[in-house]
Symmetry: C2
Subunit: 321 residues, 2 copies
């Protein structure tokens, strides 16, 4: 997927140019460290591809792209505290390397810096700001729902989908819609672009749940079955609950308390397999993916302009193009 | 100081109108709770008085006033986590009543909501946003300096003043300057208004340090000498260090480890009194206060327009008007 590389490289170069002061070092060193940990920079790349979709230059939306990436990093920094995550991309998280206090404050500054970049974007600042604020609040609501789910005994598939829509999808959608806004696309076009982002996000998140258990261990960076070990209520778990017999429900509940990790994963997987959970989850991924393609097809834009976004969506879902 | 009451009441009424969703309750209940804890609402009142200074109606800047107040509440929420404060205005803090995770996320949403209000303010959004962002980053830097000071052995008076300028004064200044901006005051006028805020903030903070030890116990809500017990490097402490003899420095250091609170406070106060610390700190308060009055005098505005702000500054510093 080489065609993405120049976009990612452009984002990396521009991220390095963001002017963080040297002092107080205890505040800005962790920020620089966290940004340098990197990532796929999918969201800002979406913003760049989003403006090119409308036949304009990527340089025109770089401030928004960077704002989206800093916002994303702010959420990761604070989420890592809440999840007590020791590592991110195999590096110590900020609250582990420094302290929880440092991670709180560094996250706060990243959020403010995101707004600073947004304010420096040419265009209709007020409308950009409104969309950004709406998205930002939704992402926080999604994180809160995720935290709430840990305490809840039963979650419906609809509730789960709403949680991942808020926590993940709306930011992908917004990354694209900000560009549509700056390109002065009409409301219908903006809505198609946003719904493309929403559905790609949903597909990606469910795929992520599937890979956690069904990925090729040689290609998968993390431990297979990590979600099962952590008793996470993923889409796989919810689909299993949906069609499980009374006995299977009891077995799943028992397995939640199983201490031997190998038995826990193997026995849970056995029940999942009996209930065809992988296949049913993949059907969901496909449905979201098809909906995303449908949305982009609706756009009244030359087909060749749509190709990079379509290609990226295939790439994100590990599909052959 | 009855003239402030209608302004505060107006702010309270408008705060109640802010539309926080009911769900997720775990996110919005703590926010409603924290806002209801209240406070003097000094910052938004400054914004209202700031616009009236320029002969305009307070209703014109209500969105900015509320944004400033929500931002202030965001900082308090996160600062309470960092300071491990169990109480605020005699009520349990959010991280105590709910959890640290809840307090982090509730703070994040308050910050975003502040931007939402800012975006809904009529006027030059981009310029408002730039000033707000600059201020917000400075407040975070001030908080970081404050955290750093806990680990540092020696702090100069200049460093301390810079910390309180960032942590407290710039937001007071900004509360006023936002109104000056919206009133389309020229740069010189804006600068005088901002400097009035800065100096009132510095005076207020040093006064606060003095009251912690020298207040009338009957009128003071908190324990006298709390800063000494917490080994806080307040202005009193720094002024003492500045002129203390070698022996007095050693005594102060010893007293830092004293376990009997009555002895610790009494003996420290004895040294402070020998070094005329109260008087010297009051001279600082007076100098900042005079500078603030000087700034407001420079404004090319009818004198009667200035009276409410001057009165408020007297009130904040507990002076007879």
């Amino acid at each position: 997927m080489d065609f993405i590389a120049p976009y990612t490289a452009y984002i990396e170069r521009e991220l390095l140019k963001i002017d963080f002061p040297l002092q107080p070092a205890q505040l800005y060193d962790p920020i620089r460290y966290f940004i340098a940990i990197g990532g796929k920079r999918i969201r800002p790349v979406l913003t760049l591809l989003g403006i090119e979709l409308f036949g304009k230059q990527k340089q025109q939306v770089i401030q928004v792209a960077l704002a989206i990436e800093l916002f994303h990093n702010f959420t990761l920094l604070h989420d890592d505290i809440m999840d007590e995550a020791p590592l991110r991309r195999k590096m110590p998280t900020v609250h582990k390397k420094w302290s929880v206090n440092t991670a709180i404050l560094a996250g706060d500054v990243l959020l403010i810096k995101a707004y600073e970049l947004l304010a420096s974007q040419e265009g209709d600042t007020r409308r950009l700001l409104k969309l950004f604020n709406k998205t930002a609040v939704e992402v926080c609501q999604g994180q809160q729902m995720d935290l709430d789910f840990e305490q809840k005994k039963t979650i419906t598939i609809d509730e789960y989908q709403e949680m991942i829509r808020l926590k993940t999808s709306v930011l992908l959608a917004s990354a694209l819609e900000m560009s549509a806004l700056l390109a002065q696309a009409d409301e219908k076009q903006r809505e198609h672009v946003a719904q493309f982002g929403i559905n790609i996000g949903l597909a990606f998140q469910v795929k992520d749940d599937i890979l956690d258990l069904y990925a090729d261990p040689k290609k998968f960076g993390k431990q297979i079955g990590g979600d099962i070990l952590a008793n996470k209520k993923t889409m796989l778990h919810l689909l299993a609950q949906q069609t499980a017999s009374q006995q299977q429900l009891l077995d799943l509940e028992q397995l939640g308390k199983e201490l031997d990790p190998r038995i826990k994963i193997a026995e849970t997987k056995k029940i999942f397999d009996l209930l065809a959970v992988e296949q049913r989850a993949n059907e969901k991924v496909n449905a979201f993916f098809e909906q995303a393609q449908h949305e982009i097809n609706q756009l009244e834009i030359p087909n060749k302009n749509k190709q990079p976004l379509i290609q990226l969506s295939h790439m994100l879902l590990g599909r052959e193009v």
